[in-house]
């Protein structure tokens, strides 16, 4: 097992290096650099900036260096959590910015994940065990509707309905006014939960539909397996047969899927985070990319890639735990 994990991790390293290069390449791709956007911004406020000053700033930010130098500058500090400095945030270190949002990003992504699974799996089980029933059709239909509505639209409409129909003043954000800066307390936590459900529902709708469909299909397959008959032949209750014997075997795909899904949620939540004013990495990366704050953008992207790789790894490990047949080699 340890060997397996270490090998997987070792394989991840070259992939990561490649990804980091690609990321760096790709964020350099659009024309211009941070300074251009900075100058554009400053000029829009009526300041004038001379060519020499632009040049000086370029030197100062190291923007006139060749790409590989910049890349190396970025990469070499990784081990010490030094990902360079953000231009946008007055040269604050990228890590200090990322770590502020990373927690909430993971919280929201994680909660959404849990939501999808907690809601999706039982419905999937119901659908599979009541195949072709009205309930099955109903959930299938609901599932497809969920897949069909663009997330951001759902967010916007939810906000609007919240405001104008139910009079909820602030559906956006993760905290009520009074708790934003307050230290952690039970009340703050409850407040968090009260806010968390909206992004979770918005982000989770499509995914939940996916879980339902996958779970249903898999469970139907598993229910045709011989060992289900064996379990029934033992005299086990149908519910035990399904939950103990069938569901556990049908979970594989969901686990794999969940592993793949984690980083998608973080990047996928960009639009929703923007609409709902969530303190996640989504809007950060959005603005960083737009203003070409390359170290910040690159780092957030890299984190997402790492999350994906880690997500896959964790999925594989859980899979190995859930299914003893999985060989580590």
């Amino acid at each position: 097992m340890i060997n397996y994990i270490s090998r997987r991790v070792a394989v991840m390293i070259p992939v990561l290096i490649l990804i980091s290069m690609f990321i760096f390449f790709i964020i350099q791709l659009p024309p211009g650099n941070y300074l251009d956007s900075y100058v554009a911004l400053v000029s829009s406020q009526g300041e004038t900036i001379s060519a020499e000053r632009v040049q000086k700033l370029e030197e100062r930010y190291g923007l006139n260096q060749p790409v590989y130098v910049k890349y190396w500058k970025w990469v070499k500090g990784f081990v010490f959590l030094d990902f360079g400095n953000s231009f946008q945030y007055d040269s604050a270190s990228v890590w200090s910015i990322v770590k502020q949002y990373l927690g909430y990003s993971i919280l929201i992504a994680g909660s959404t994940q849990i939501f999808m699974i907690v809601v999706g799996i039982p419905i999937g089980i119901y659908s599979a065990t009541h195949q072709y029933s009205f309930g099955d059709y109903f959930w299938t239909f609901i599932g497809f509707i969920g897949l069909s509505i663009p997330n951001f639209m759902l967010a916007l409409i939810l906000m609007y309905v919240g405001y104008f129909v139910f009079g909820i003043p602030s559906l956006g954000g993760l905290f009520s006014e009074q708790y934003v800066t307050a230290p952690w307390s039970i009340a703050k936590f409850i407040d968090l939960l009260a806010h968390l459900w909206i992004p979770v529902v918005v982000l989770g709708t499509a995914g939940t539909a996916g879980v339902i469909r996958t779970m249903r299909a898999n469970l139907l397959d598993v229910l045709n397996m011989q060992y289900i008959s064996t379990a029934r032949a033992k005299g086990l209750k149908e519910s035990v047969v399904i939950y103990k014997h069938a569901v556990r075997n049908a979970l594989h795909v969901i686990i794999m899927w969940a592993g793949m899904r984690l980083p998608k949620l973080i990047s996928g939540s960009t639009v929703v985070s923007i609409v709902l004013s969530l303190p996640t990495l989504g809007p950060i990366i959005y603005s960083a990319l737009r203003s070409q704050d390359m170290y910040l953008a690159g780092t957030v992207l890299l984190f997402q890639c790492i999350l994906l790789l880690v997500g896959n790894l964790v999925a594989d490990i859980i899979l190995a735990v859930v299914d003893p047949r999985i060989q580590y080699n």
Partner: protein, 636 residues
């Protein structure tokens, strides 16, 4: 002769001081500070205020102390600094009537030749940490920041220079500084009053980060503990006065930032040492706290505003949302104020008369009748109705009416909708032949314009309408989006045959849209880049302009050394006269209103005012620190 501008309220203040000297204190402070003073954490209000505080004339009435004002912004990195800019504390400031008056300086003197400016600072102004603000803070700023090679790039000093040279700055005594320029600098006070330019720095705090002052070992350690590898970076991050980022940094502003970025909610608490009082001697500001909330999207902001969550909002309000804001006035318990703006025209089109890539196009652009015809073909009122709900003013791209020398004829020049006349002009210009699509031909080639536009989500709508108008007179037009920075760099490289200018703003200190004298980035000229380059490089590069343009340039040169304000106005008027006839920039609609949404319980916000970035950043002249929330509404 010495020009002495005295604060007209000094006398009044002195009078009040005199009358109230029998009482325990001459000034009042916010109730929240009483406790602090009693505990001895804070000196008494009289000691905190300068000898001669700045007295603010309130708009409505003397305010109630207390309360928190909520407002919103969409950009977590750029917007927090607005709290500093909107209050715009400087040596001098703009008044609501757009004149300059002393502020941190009690008074100032300008030499006859407009080369030396002497400022007498108010005695006893204190930084938010209680330290005295003196000439040393100005000297530190000038000698150790502006003149420091390593730091200059960041802090910027272009606005200080005249003929490319920095002034000399002297400290005459602890409360007197003098700026001496190599040449007349007629607009220096205006430049100073421009938002964000602060000729001082908290020397007592910043020295610990400055290589020239700090203990070397200690500085090294500080650098090691920070995100930076050089002292410059550290220093700049600590001295983020403009960006209002470092809560430790002492400020002079009415509110002190307490939130360390990055954050989505920025809190600003009252500065107990703020040096201004109202007419009754109440120390300002009235508001205990201002909270700036960051939402990531304009629409979310709109939602917050219409639901009444913003106590005061100006940024990111959209003209097109007027009905939305209005409809919710009652339920949101707010009022939509329509402030004026001085945008000459939005959008404005600039044919590049120095376009070098295509001689045919250049000829076309240089044809005055062609430009006039295009201007006449635009149905400005209709455009106004569709794009801006009729809230803007149809006009030519010219100076705004608030300016003292404004003439209506400039705004009217070729700005009426007269397709007949436009067609006639084009016929006269010789473009009589048309192709099968009805497009006029010039030398056998159909007239087709490609206009490069910057990023603006509402633009395509307007552009499509203009396209139709021009098509009606036989001119084909296409527009293409160009990313903002590219838009600038292409212009400077003379690659744009036609450009779109956002706003075409003008102020005496920002003449570049109207006079081609600069070809670099933010101050580049749009309609004659090559001439601008010629001027900027003293004829070394670019192209020598024709007489008409040279005349503009000469006027500009003259303005720079003209001491008399009225004479300068006259010279400017000549500039606009020339423009009115030549239509180098084609305007559409301008003077869009600036909405200010304020809750009904927020007072001292003027019903109307000029909202202009140039004149002290929108709220500046209105003196933000006098806004207050009425007592009853404070416990909402």
């Amino acid at each position: 002769m010495k020009l002495v501008k005295e604060n007209s309220y000094i006398l009044l203040t002195v009078l009040i001081l005199f009358l109230t000297s029998g009482l325990a204190s001459a000034y009042n402070q916010a109730p929240v500070l009483d406790q602090e003073v009693e505990n001895g954490n804070l000196p008494a209000v009289d000691e905190r205020l300068p000898e001669n505080p700045y007295v603010t004339e309130v708009v409505d009435r003397i305010g109630d102390y207390g309360g928190t004002l909520n407002w919103f912004a969409t950009n977590a990195t750029d917007d927090p600094k607005l709290m500093a800019l909107y209050n715009n504390i400087n040596l001098v400031r703009y008044t609501p009537s757009l004149t300059i008056k002393p502020d941190l300086a009690e008074s100032y003197e300008v030499s006859d030749d407009l080369t030396t400016y002497t400022f007498n600072l108010r005695k006893g102004i204190r930084w938010s940490d209680g330290e005295l603000f003196t000439a040393n803070d100005v000297m530190f700023w000038f000698n150790d920041i502006i003149k420091n090679d390593q730091l200059t790039a960041e802090s910027g000093s272009g606005w200080l220079k005249i003929q490319d040279k920095l002034p000399e700055v002297e400290k005459l005594d602890d409360y007197t500084v003098r700026f001496s320029f190599a040449a007349p600098n007629p607009y220096f006070l205006e430049k100073l009053a421009f938002p964000g330019r602060k000729p001082y720095a908290a020397a007592h705090y910043l020295k610990q980060f400055h290589a020239d002052y700090a203990d070397q070992a200690e500085l090294e350690k500080r650098i090691a503990d920070s995100d930076f590898d050089k002292w410059v970076g550290l220093f700049e991050s600590k001295n983020s006065k403009k960006f209002f980022r470092n809560p430790e940094l002492p400020v002079i502003e009415p509110w002190v930032p307490v939130t360390e970025p990055p954050a989505n909610r920025f809190v600003y608490k009252r500065n107990p040492y703020f040096y201004k009082v109202d007419e009754e001697g109440n120390q300002l500001p009235y508001l205990d706290e201002v909270v700036l909330k960051i939402v990531s999207d304009k629409e979310v902001l709109s939602m917050q505003v219409v639901s009444g969550a913003a106590d005061l909002q100006m940024r990111q309000l959209m003209t097109s949302n007027f009905t939305l804001y209005k409809n919710n006035e009652k339920s949101g318990n707010y009022k939509v104020l329509k402030w004026q703006r001085n945008t000459p025209s939005l959008p404005t089109f600039a044919p590049n008369i120095t376009y070098a890539e295509d001689e045919w196009m250049r000829e076309l652009n240089n044809n005055k009748k062609f430009r006039q015809a295009l201007s006449l073909a635009i149905n400005r009122p209709e455009l106004n109705q569709v794009a801006t709900k009729g809230l803007a003013v149809p006009r030519q791209a010219t100076v705004y009416p608030q300016w003292e020398g404004f003439k209506q004829e400039w705004a009217d020049a070729y700005a009426d909708y007269d397709p007949e006349k436009a067609n006639k002009l084009l016929d006269e210009a010789g473009f009589t032949e048309r192709n099968s699509d009805g497009i006029r031909l010039k030398d056998g080639k159909p007239i087709h314009l490609t206009i490069y536009i910057g990023e603006d989500p509402n633009l395509p709508r307007t552009m499509n309408m203009i396209k139709d108008y021009w098509k009606d007179i036989g001119v084909d037009m296409d527009f293409k989006g160009l990313e903002k920075t590219l838009h600038y760099t292409r212009r400077d490289a003379n690659k744009l045959p036609w450009a779109y200018i956002g706003g075409a703003s003008w102020s005496p200190t920002y003449p570049y849209n109207f006079i081609p004298v600069s070809n670099s980035y933010s101050s580049g000229n749009w309609w004659a880049p090559l001439y601008a380059k010629w001027y900027e490089t003293n004829g070394k590069q670019g192209e020598e302009p024709p007489a008409e343009i040279k005349k503009l340039m000469n006027l500009y040169d003259e303005i720079q050394i003209t001491k008399d304000q009225d004479e300068r106005v006259e010279l400017w008027q000549k500039v606009f006269d020339i423009h009115a006839e030549n239509v180098w920039m084609i305007g559409t609609n301008g003077l869009h209103p600036q909405f200010v949404i304020k809750k009904n319980y927020v007072h001292n916000v003027p019903e109307t005012a000029l909202a202009s970035w140039d004149y002290g950043a929108y709220f500046g002249p209105s003196e933000f620190y006098q806004f207050f929330i009425e007592k009853d509404a404070q416990d909402k």
